[in-house]
Amino acid sequence: MKKRMWTMAGAVAISGALALSGCGGDNGDTPSGGSINLTVSGWSLETTPEFQVLADAFHAANPDVTVEIVEYDAADYQTLIQVDMSAGKAPDIITIKEAKVTHSWATGGQLLDISDVVQALPSNVSGAGSYAIDGVNYGAPYRQDSWVLFYNQDLFDAAGIAYPDGKWTWDDYAKAARDLTAALGAAGSQALGAYEHSWQSTLQGFAQAQTPGADLFSGKYDYLKPYYERVLALQDDGAQATFGTISTNKLTYQAQFGKQQAAMMAMGSWYVATLVTQQKGGEADNFKWGIAPVPQYSSSTFAKPVTFGDPTGMGINAKIDSAKLEAAKQFLAFVASETAAVELAKIGIVSSVTGDAVTAAYFAQAGLPTDDLSKEAMSNHVTKPENPQGETIGAIQTILGATHTAVMSESQSVDDAIAEAQDRFENEIEI
């Protein structure tokens, strides 16, 4: 009893402090006269129209349910929503911005078990696994970006090099990056063959998803080695901007690809919408580009390329009014349905549902490439989670983040850095 009081005092103190910085959520109205008002947490509604699109589409299909979006600050979303959850003031439906928080939210008793909803979803929905703990589902994915290879067709033409054909291993990619750099340099261009952003996911995400047997929770990270060696060689040969330059000059990937500083770039599919907007608005140059599947670990996966990405999903607040529960479950089933996916595709969002209708709606937007490989790259792939579910995932990613900066800055050899990561795993994770 006393313990709980202290905990509450702590929660009150922290939520009080955060309340001063201007956050807060509304409890939805309780149902009256057959109409139900559901609240959903969202962020940056101005630039993230997906929430309103889902709300409107659901309301159109279910006129007696109104969905209201509660806006949070995007950068501090996780902290703010946690404060609201522990204060019992969070919306009925909670958007899970980063899948890796699911574990602490679910074990903290904040999310309802919605296995009945998720297990009834059609098989063409991917990403639900990121919200499952020991076979219990806590979230339904509505959005699933995955990493693809963007390439600048104009620069490839100028260099006289064949476009990616969807059958590239990483060695083919490295060779193309070197050839492009040399040919573009000879043609008087400053552009490099490839750009690899400084995030740890640009390298570790692929190594983790593609290498057979790779497992973040195993504490064995040898599988990173070939990926690092390949990229360090590219960096030393000048075929891509060095990590030092990227981090000290704060290069942005949007400018590097959009301003034609690099001919190829692996990036999440969210960048499609950004690039289209920036080309329209003049922030990016006007050039022809295409999308190819990401290079593979070996030729065995060319038919169904393996890539990675984390979904965005929604769960139900454990403190929801029981009268609204049924409507909330309907809403979650809806956001992961093909109807919703088509609506999302129209505004350039890659949904968790794949299918011909979704792909057709997505590529009907103006400014997108129209070739078959681009369409295939966006619709045919296996997307593994970047952050598989587990209590220790945050701590493991922190350790591997340090490995990434140590190796990429060439402060430490690949072997030493991997050995250190494994030592730290032993020391810090398995306590």
Binding site: G10, G244, S411, E428, I431
Partner: protein, 303 residues
């Protein structure tokens, strides 16, 4: 022999004492309420949380000293502690020397002294994010102006600064010193101007050299200021956070990973508020111990 106090007198005296207590409390009340609500309660809650495994939600299990024993075994904690000490050991004397030097320089009657004083203070009032971005550009290993100057004057392998695990901490220390020197310079200037002029005149009459005057007049008279600056600087150094977060984010590897960043990561990235609180308490104890030590040393010198 016992003094017999009249009942009436005692009552009056009690009333006076009561009135004094009430008025005393009234004076400190506004400040105390703010302090209690915004500082004391969170600190007490923090100490409690450090003995639990609280993960931001209701359920917190009592862990006893488990978080603290884990602290001693945690390699990252040792790395963070070592880096924090490394930063403090170099940053503290360097900032002290530079800001005292600046204060001495700008305590003379030179032209445009107000301009120079303001200029030295500028870094302190500039946004730390802007500072970090600009210094990162300056430190850029391949195209940065600093390394270009170094290669121009014949340094073969200029340091790779913020992207080298050996040079990232020195780079941070340089920027931090540059940023904070103006603030401590102002404190030293105030101290310098409080030194009575007569002392210098007397020393000059006695034939003391300028070094002698500095050694025997300036330094002893500045001691209260120096003490204050040292205490503030050591606490600030142990708490270093924002500059490192924006400049290197603790990297490359763990080369600039400090205690306050460990607290931030454990709490807000990994949701281990209990463990993060234990790290905070340890940081608090370290700062307290250093401050107490400094006070003891100061008192001994004073005697």
């Amino acid at each position: 022999m016992t003094t017999v106090v009249e009942p009436g007198l005692r009552r009056r005296r009690n009333r006076l004492r009561w009135r004094n207590t009430v008025s005393g409390w009234t004076f400190i009340l506004p400040n105390f309420v703010g302090f209690a609500l915004l500082t004391l309660v969170p600190i007490v809650a923090l100490i409690y949380i450090s003995f639990t495994n609280w993960n931001a939600f209701g359920a917190a299990d009592w862990m006893g000293l488990k978080n603290y024993t884990r602290l001693f075994k945690d390699r990252s904690y040792r790395v963070a502690l070592w880096n924090t000490v490394y930063y403090t050991v170099f940053h503290l004397p360097l900032t002290l020397a530079v800001s005292l030097g600046l204060a001495l320089l700008l305590n003379r009657k030179i032209k445009a002294v107000a301009f120079f004083r303001t200029a030295a203070f500028f870094p302190y009032i500039t946004s730390v994010v802007a500072i970090a971005i600009v210094w990162n550009l300056l430190f850029s290993p391949e195209y940065g102006p600093i390394n270009q100057v170094l290669s121009f004057i014949g340094v073969d392998n200029p340091p790779r600064w913020t992207v080298s695990s050996d040079w990232s901490m020195p780079a941070i220390i340089i920027v931090a010193t540059w940023r904070e020197m103006g603030y401590y310079m102002i404190l030293f200037l105030a101290g310098l101007q409080a030194i009575p002029r007569e002392l210098y005149e007397a020393a000059r009459v006695d034939g003391a050299s300028s070094w002698g005057r500095f050694r025997n007049v300036t330094v002893p008279c500045l001691r209260p200021t120096t003490f204050f600056v040292t205490v503030m600087l050591s606490i600030e150094s142990f708490k270093v956070f924002d500059l490192i977060l924006v400049m290197t984010d603790g990297g490359p590897g763990q080369s600039t990973f400090v205690l306050s960043q460990m607290i931030f990561n454990k709490a807000f990235v990994e949701n281990q508020y209990g463990y993060a609180s234990a790290v905070s308490v340890s940081l608090f104890v370290i700062c307290l111990a250093i401050t107490v030590f400094q006070f003891l040393v100061n008192r001994r010198i004073e005697r």
